[in-house]
Amino acid sequence: MFRLAPRDGEWLDRGSEAYFRFEGRDVPFFAGDTYGSALAAAGIATTARSFKYHRRRGLYSALGHDANALFQIDGRPNQRSDALLARAGAVVAAVNTAGGVEADRGALIEKLAPFLPVGFYYKTFIGRRLFPLFEALIRHYSGLGRVDAASRPTQPPHRHRHCDVAVIGGGITGLAAALAAVEHGAGRVVLIDEGRRPGGSATGTQDSRLADLQQRVAAEPRIEAYHGHCATGLYEDRRLALVDASRPEGGLTLLRAGAIVLATGAIEQPVVFRNNDLPRVMLASGAQALLHRYAVACGRRVVILTATPDGLTVALDLAAAGIAVTVACLAASSPGEPGLRAALVSAGVAVLEGVTPIEALAGNDGAVAAVTLQTASSVRRFACDALLLSAGFVPALHLALQAGGTLAWSDTLQQHLPAHLPAGVFAAGRANAVYAMADRVQDGQRAGRAAALGASVASDDRLRIVSARSHAFPLFPHPQGKEFVDLDEDLTLADLRNAVQEGFDSSELLKRYSTVGMGPSQGKLSNLNALRQLAALRGDPMSEHALTTARPPWQGVTLGALAGVPSPPLRRSALDAEHERLGAEWMPAGNWRRPAWYCRTGLDRQLAIAAEVRAVRAAVGLIDVSTLGKIEVLGPDAAALLDLLYVGRHSDQRVGTTRYAVMLDEAGMVIDDGVVARRDLAAWYVTATTGAAAATYREMQRLVVERRLDCVLHNLTGAMAAVNLAGPRSRELLATLCGADLGADAFPYLAYREFTLAGMEARVMRVGFVGELGYEIHVPWDGAVALWRALHASARPGGLTPFGVEAQRILRLEKGHVIIGQDTDALTSPDEAGLGWAVRMDKPFFTGQRSLEALRRRGPRQQLVAFELQATQAPFEECNLFIDAGEPVGRVTSLAASPTLGKVIGLALVAPRVAGRSELAVRDDHGALHTVRFTRAPFYDPRGERQRAAAALAP
């Protein structure tokens, strides 16, 4: 076992031990362990397989910077095993294996490596012949974890938060920055750290400053700590997306900060040489995290290949824990001060200088068993069970890059530095190339103070290191290859060399062609080394090549976390409960729900709808039309506004009347229709279709502002409810509830009246959308239920039939009335839709007028026609195509079996050349052709006698 004796500051509760199951075997863990630390403690070296060649892989960064750590956990794919707390009984498996991590059949692919060169996709798919074969193969093998389609997604609620200063990174710099921010007036500071406890890379050090800062932060109520959270994206206005990395479902917090301090540290970089990807070859910082946080030894006999003082520090820590360590300092590097070297010697650690790695060698279990090094005098093999790498650092400033920041390369320091940071964003600590503990505290205080005071000063670089802390070129090619630059994508030095030779010789091109940096870790451990290889091959200085930007999310986020709790806005009419009580079957209409039809005992859907249609034709029906847009227009310029908005003329409309109105877009296409009622000389009431209500209101607002019109708009869509009482007996029923004269002369067709109805003020329009005597009644939302119930109470039992949208569609189709958006599309002019009669081209201007003039000169491209078929049921469906000489010449827009007429009727948009035909064929979904007869609309009551209802109507 690799678990060590209890250590001060470890993140474990040793009193609580449990097991999870990994690849068929039980793995013990303590409370506080991650899956990764528990596997390391259990001595399980191979925990993953690589993406392309299925090579054995193990814990590598232990800090979320590589794809090796992605596991399938309890059915959830691609979970971060080095961040998630282990759960008792969890079922855990490696991703991307065929037959398990130990016996992965996919490993055979590595034998095909010579045939899978860089740019394989581009080279292979340039010809069509082999595409189907490779597509099937790649689809089968691509991706990492598997989505369990049967599992129930978890969608935790989003949280929104605002703060004065956000500090990202809970290391010693971040702690100092957070405290400085509150000391300089920040009322709310949010401290975000991926670790479950503060400390960052300083965890485990005995420096008293860390403990002091931790205590002061813990006692400060103005600092909110988001431990176990990862900032995955930085957006406009300093908005941060924070993901709870400690929970499998990962809750999302959206944080808006006045200023941001990036105390995000620096990401340790690997050394590239042959077999540098074997299990138990890992970053020194990862081994340090295992040691201090989880009391796990990365090995018992460890070699550290380093160019940094950090590698030496890790060697000291491991030696102090009783682990045998050999330090191999890379050639052309001189890490660490003399004091550090002396401490190593005192601790009995062997230190080799000026070494060049040749290759790592695997043991029987596939994990590293030895490393061959070229020293000044000889080539030597060093047996080991863990090989740690530390080649240098990349500042973790990816969030700043997402927000438009830039980095600059320093030849002196051999690393990138922040060159330009977005306004209100400050870098501090290791992210700012400040490494010494005391300097990091001071740099954090500087950044925290600047953030709190809103200072727009550039980062102060006086504290930065003055000599290189990174190796200039830690890439060591081997004649037999397998020197992995990008472990996510299995890319070697040879792959990059070939890509550059093929002409993909900029960092952006190289990324897209070779896929370097395109894996789950987005190049955190590979981009810098790839850049070095690119610059070396081209003979360029490093400063001529830029790092590519890691896109958000910087760490993986579940789709469920992004989605949050589903809550698509749904509107309900005031009569919603009444419909429910009457057995409504619902359908969506825009963002409303509406009754499609009402269930009736003994009747199926079709018969129930037919019964509703017959009731309206024979007696009286009632439909909820509250979803209509309802807009009040007041003021002296109201008529002028309506003349601009609609194709008809309203300025000459008489008070107490309504007019049908058609609205066009700038291209002269129909986008909405409605009814305009003139209430008074300067007071109008306008209805719009359900889906276009908001857009119509916005267009009105635009015109009012643009034309400087003296009128006021009130959108009453939600505040007013509306019903349509329709049928030959509607007048008779309505008369029981009001004292107004409803006679044909006093309240004729298309008239508008306001009177008291069932005790409330109502706005009533004589309209005929369904082709019968009808009244559209508008009342305040509060009164809708009372009106609905009063109408039902006044009717004789069964005499008033509620009808839904399906019946309404049939009724209006029998009458030949179009529905905008169904019988028209985005390219239908009013002439093509048969609405040319409503257009008044002699007006000075209306929206779409000039385009319509041009359209009329050009002639129609399609024509709305009516057709019928002697059948009781339609043998095809809406949207089926009309076919002429084998070519499509139109489509069915509306279709219904008419209960009133006993035949199938419909509308269609067809090419003008076939619009004059007497019949044409429609092709159904199965390819069969059905001939329909063209006719003229309306199909029902063509003279409009019933809707005008000048005289008493017989049912």
């Binding site: 605002h162 700590a225 400690s246 809550s567 006021v712 939600g718 939302w781």
Partner: protein
């Protein structure tokens, strides 16, 4: 330091509070009209005031020139609306009465702010600092007027004024978030 991960599941009450009397006022002369009627005017855009005579009458200033008068009790509620509309009808004020049928949802309790911040992106510090704060925000995907109304003991409380057709959605969304709380 306040640990916020994981969030504590604390109680929050969610209910619809019937407010049968509401009236919208729009236009530049609304402050003068209200002053003429002896009513105080919320001094700042996006603020509110209790109206005199009852603890359950409010005047909400929505933005700059739009107002919502609302009253729970029947006594005097209809009169208030009628008085305003009559005054406008008599002329002399550049303002309009607007039909408002907003429904009012009350969110209160120790976890009210936590629940609120799950469905809307507001700076809760504004409500902590200013007891008469009002915000016109998108909440659960719909536009609402959010009125901060803490209890006398400091317990957070909010009134959410929304289009009546969206009120059920807002109520259900708040309840659904409560169900999802870990």
């Amino acid at each position: 330091m306040m640990p916020v991960s994981p969030p504590k599941p604390l109680p929050a009450g969610i209910a619809e509070a019937p407010v049968p009397y509401r009236l919208g006022l729009k236009g530049g002369d609304v402050p003068q009209l209200l002053a003429r009627l002896g009513l105080r005017v919320p001094p700042r855009p996006n603020s509110w005031l209790p109206l005199p005579g009852s603890a359950r009458r409010w005047c909400l200033r929505l933005g700059n020139g739009e107002f919502l008068l609302a009253q729970v009790d029947a006594a005097g509620g209809a009169d208030l609306i009628e008085t305003c509309t009559t005054a406008i009808a008599h002329g002399g004020f550049a303002c309009h009465a607007v039909l408002r049928q907003d429904r009012c949802i009350v969110l209160t309790g120790p976890a009210a702010t936590v629940r609120l911040l799950q469905v809307t992106d507001i700076d809760d510090r504004v409500f902590l600092r200013t007891p008469d704060a009002l915000a016109l925000v998108l909440l659960a995907g719909v536009g609402v007027a959010l009125q901060g109304e803490p209890d006398t003991d400091g317990t957070p409380g909010y009134r959410i004024w929304c289009d009546p057709t969206y009120a059920d959605h807002v109520l259900e969304t708040l309840a659904r978030h409560a169900d999802h709380e870990p």
